[in-house]
Symmetry: C2
Subunit: 148 residues, 2 copies
């Protein structure tokens, strides 16, 4: 049995997911494949955009948070996937070289009525650069229970 089961995801608990440094090449490579808008690809277009400089695709930011979540939590948990979420927000742009602190807060937890061997956990994702929040999301995770 993994270390973390449904019972361990108690509302209010916060998991530190470490710090992520934004690699300039990977940031642009991701945008070229998945989000090739000029302000995600080109320095000059970034400067002329609402972001003020070349900025990461929000999906790159989301994906990096996911990786931190897998490394620090899901890899040692009874994780059963996610049906989705209720909020996804990129309140400030992310730039190459940024050091982003990632965290997870447990917002709610309840056993599944239809599948009692499983629980549904409402998760609050966050990443920030200094005092600036750059990513916020609320979604649901499904976890196996320790004691059926």
């Amino acid at each position: 049995m993994p270390e973390l089961a449904f019972e361990d995801f108690t509302p209010g608990r916060v998991f530190d997911l470490g710090t992520i440094t934004i690699d300039a090449d990977e940031m642009v490579e991701f945008a070229r494949r998945f989000d090739p808008q000029p302000f995600h690809l080109d320095e000059q277009a970034g400067k002329e955009s609402i972001f003020g400089q070349l900025a990461a695709s929000g999906w790159f930011t989301s994906s990096l948070w996911m990786r931190a979540y897998v490394d620090h939590v899901l890899s040692r948990a009874t994780a059963l996937g996610s049906p989705g979420g209720e909020e996804i927000s990129w309140p400030a742009p992310v730039f190459a070289g940024d050091e982003l602190a990632a965290s997870l807060e447990i917002l709610e937890a309840r056993r599944s009525r239809s599948r009692p061997e499983m629980g549904l956990v409402k998760l609050g994702a966050r990443m920030h650069r200094g005092e600036t929040v750059v990513y916020r999301a609320t979604f649901t995770g499904m976890f196996g229970v320790r004691e059926p």
Copy 2:
């Protein structure tokens, strides 16, 4: 001026974003970097999971939809980025070889009060395999207006 400005995103309008085929290698490569959970990496773990077979990371699905949106809409629009969304949902798993039809529906549109040269458009994203919806999201796009 690009072909599509804020004024063109009228509620009810639907954009066909074409069809996407899920490449098995890229699906696993994405998971290895951003979402290395066993059911996204390994056939056998996929079979034993809630998904019934090796399944794509939801973030890969979201990123593929984004690319289709850029190719079919944003590349010919006065696109100014997105602050985020209100819903993101992966109601059914995505598998290697899937042919997914992508679309965008315009849900709401209003001019920004603080920045009248810009409008905010509420967008409904969707992808489906046959009659099964595999991705649904609602988010906001910012677009430059044609006539200030």
